[in-house]
């Protein structure tokens, strides 16, 4: 159980760790938007861009994003293996979708290698599957860098502050944030608790690892029942503890750590802005950069 820790906060002191959580959250959201701005094969072909041209543009765009991410990882001083662990979690999903995409590509296709019934393998399909796989990997890596460099408390604080405007339309932002931070706080405790109960039942020769799905599900009852009971007990105790320290919700509550944007946040903002600009330049052919790059690639080949 202890090994399900991908994306878990990695404590070191780095520029990225010290950045304002709000800034990091906004940047990650922007990063995700950027990934989705890169067009798909089909939409590019429909707007009259040749397949070769599209491949060159997209490759350049992803390369820039990848470089940006690499630099961010280096600055964060989180070991590469920790970052890559998040990929491990989605690799099957990505491979599966890529293969489906490859076999059932439904857009325009002129370079068809193989066709049988509804299955067809085409160059367009291959490129489409590749870009999708790259996009998904990049999509997972960005947010996992966020959670690797930001403590859950900072994260929920950041979200609370970012959602603050919603409280004017009666959204209970503070309560949502406190629920989130309690939930996050209790995940390790629950994992530990599960471990303990599992061990106690294993000591009574409970078998969790053999038999079919139903048998295994049934084998979990001796773990789930005590876990549920202890969760209720814990919730009760926590409620009393909060009550006895006069917790009253958001009203009049001040913070020990006041979030403040600093130089590094602005610096990161400008870096991200530059990345945005360069990527969009390649995608939308600003100043003819993409065509120019395409020509260079053509002459080299």
């Amino acid at each position: 159980m202890r090994d399900v820790s991908f994306g878990q906060y990695y404590p070191t002191k780095s520029v990225i760790h010290r950045m304002d959580a709000r800034a990091k959250i906004v940047f990650v959201l922007a990063y995700i938007v950027l990934l989705f701005l890169v067009p798909t094969v089909d939409s590019a072909l429909k707007s009259g861009i040749s397949l070769g041209n599209y491949t060159v543009r997209t490759a350049a765009a992803y390369l820039v994003i990848f470089l940006f991410l690499t630099v961010a990882v280096i600055f964060s001083r989180v070991p590469l293996m920790k970052v890559l662990k998040s990929i491990k979690a989605v690799i099957i999903l990505v491979l599966f979708t890529a293969i489906i995409m490859l076999l059932f590509y439904g857009g325009q296709a002129t370079h068809i290698y193989f066709k049988s019934g509804i299955i067809s393998v085409s160059l367009e399909g291959i490129i489409s599957a590749l870009t999708m796989a790259i996009r998904l990997f990049l999509l997972v890596l960005g947010p996992s860098l966020l959670t690797l460099t930001t403590t859950p408390v900072e994260l929920t604080d950041g979200i609370e502050r970012l959602l603050k405007p919603l409280s004017y339309i009666k959204v209970p932002v503070h309560d949502i944030a406190i629920i989130m931070s309690i939930a996050l706080r209790l995940i390790p405790t629950l994992i530990e608790e599960t471990d303990k109960i599992k061990n106690a039942q294993k000591a009574r020769c409970a078998d969790f690892d053999s038999g079919n799905v139903f048998k295994r599900a049934k084998a979990l009852i001796p773990v789930l029942v005590p876990l549920l009971i202890s969760s209720f007990r814990r919730a009760d105790e926590l409620a009393y503890a909060m009550d006895s320290r006069c917790y009253r919700g958001a009203k009049g509550r001040t913070r020990m750590k006041v979030m403040k944007l600093s130089f590094r946040d602005f610096a990161a903002f400008f870096v991200l802005l530059a990345v945005f600009f360069v990527v969009l330049m390649f995608i939308y052919n600003y100043f003819g950069v993409a065509s120019w790059l395409y020509q260079i690639v053509l002459t080299i080949l």
């Binding site: 202890r2 990695y10 404590p11 070191t12 303990k196 109960i197 061990n199 106690a200 039942q201 294993k202 000591a203 009574r204 020769c205 409970a206 078998d207 009852i221 001796p222 773990v223 029942v225 005590p226 009971i229 202890s230």
Partner: protein, 282 residues
């Protein structure tokens, strides 16, 4: 020889920033018929050590033999776990089934015994822990009182007829009377299950009940002593932030003030103080 431990070493989360050596170079032997105590401060590795005994933690380095089963190689988990009964801290939190009878029968059922044998073992175990079988068997374990729940959980382990019973702080969270009752119960159980290993924080209870005591500090074994030997080890005990049993501690304080007193229990402490006083008066 019951449990033979040699050069045992265990590291949590190796090769990460959370890396922590839990056990380092533990070598000791627990004999058949021992009431073996393990004492140490929080985080000294006591629980990690006992989790090795029934294979809940895989051996990392070193060797371990439990009742002739060599845990370094491949072995039969079920066979091992039926021989080593493990009672964790707050065992009542592991109760789950609808009735006490079914909950206590969980272990024997996992061993694949037939219904008659299960029923017999459940009845024996419930009686052994001092509960009224007829009254309690059809009740939900969650309706019981705290002390009864702990006994029922203990019965759940005993129903597997272990040859070695390992208890991790069986008295945690009980009032003084409850503590005494549980300890007396463990002593009584010893007639059925001759080898007992008990973890405790409390010097008083461990020195009263155990015949041999291992002292752990920061994952290292400071030594295995008889209770009487242990009283002479003030340095080790103080270094580890533990305290001698009360009579021995008072004797130690009196010795520091120049009185020659070596008492291990309340009665002999009183006798020796009176003797010293008599000598002074005379």
């Amino acid at each position: 020889m019951s449990i033979v431990i040699k050069d045992l070493r265990y590291v949590y989360s190796p090769r990460t920033p959370f890396e922590r050596v839990a056990l380092d170079g533990i070598t000791m032997t627990i004999n058949d018929g021992d009431f073996f105590g393990i004492i140490g401060h929080t985080g000294s590795g006591k629980s990690t050590l006992i989790s090795h005994f029934n294979g809940l933690i895989k051996l990392m380095e070193g060797s371990l033999t439990v009742n002739g089963i060599d845990l370094t190689g491949k072995y039969d988990y079920k066979q091992l776990r039926s021989k080593v009964g493990m009672v964790f801290q707050y065992p009542e939190y592991q109760l789950f089934d609808e009735t006490v009878e079914r909950d206590v029968g969980f272990g024997p059922k996992n061993l694949g015994l037939n219904d008659g044998e299960i029923k017999k073992r459940v009845e024996d175990a419930i009686r052994l822990v001092g509960l009224d079988y007829e009254k309690i068997k059809d009740r939900s374990p969650f309706e019981l009182s705290g002390g009864q729940m702990r006994r029922a959980a203990l019965a759940g382990v005993l129903a597997m007829k272990p040859e070695i019973l390992v208890l991790d702080e069986p008295t945690a969270g009980l009032d003084p009377r409850g503590k005494r009752e549980i300890l007396e119960l463990v002593k009584h159980i010893k007639s059925e299950c001759p080898t007992i290993v008990m973890i405790s924080h409390n010097m008083d209870e461990i020195s009263e009940y155990c015949n041999r005591i291992a002292v752990l500090g920061n994952g290292k074994l400071e030594g295995v002593f008889t209770p009487f030997e242990l009283f002479g080890q003030e340095e080790i005990i103080q270094k580890l932030g533990l305290r001698l049993p009360t009579p021995a501690y008072i004797s130690y304080l009196l010795r520091e003030r120049g009185l020659d007193i070596h008492a291990s229990d309340e009665q002999s402490l009183v006798e020796e103080i009176l003797k010293a006083k008599g000598a002074k008066d005379a």
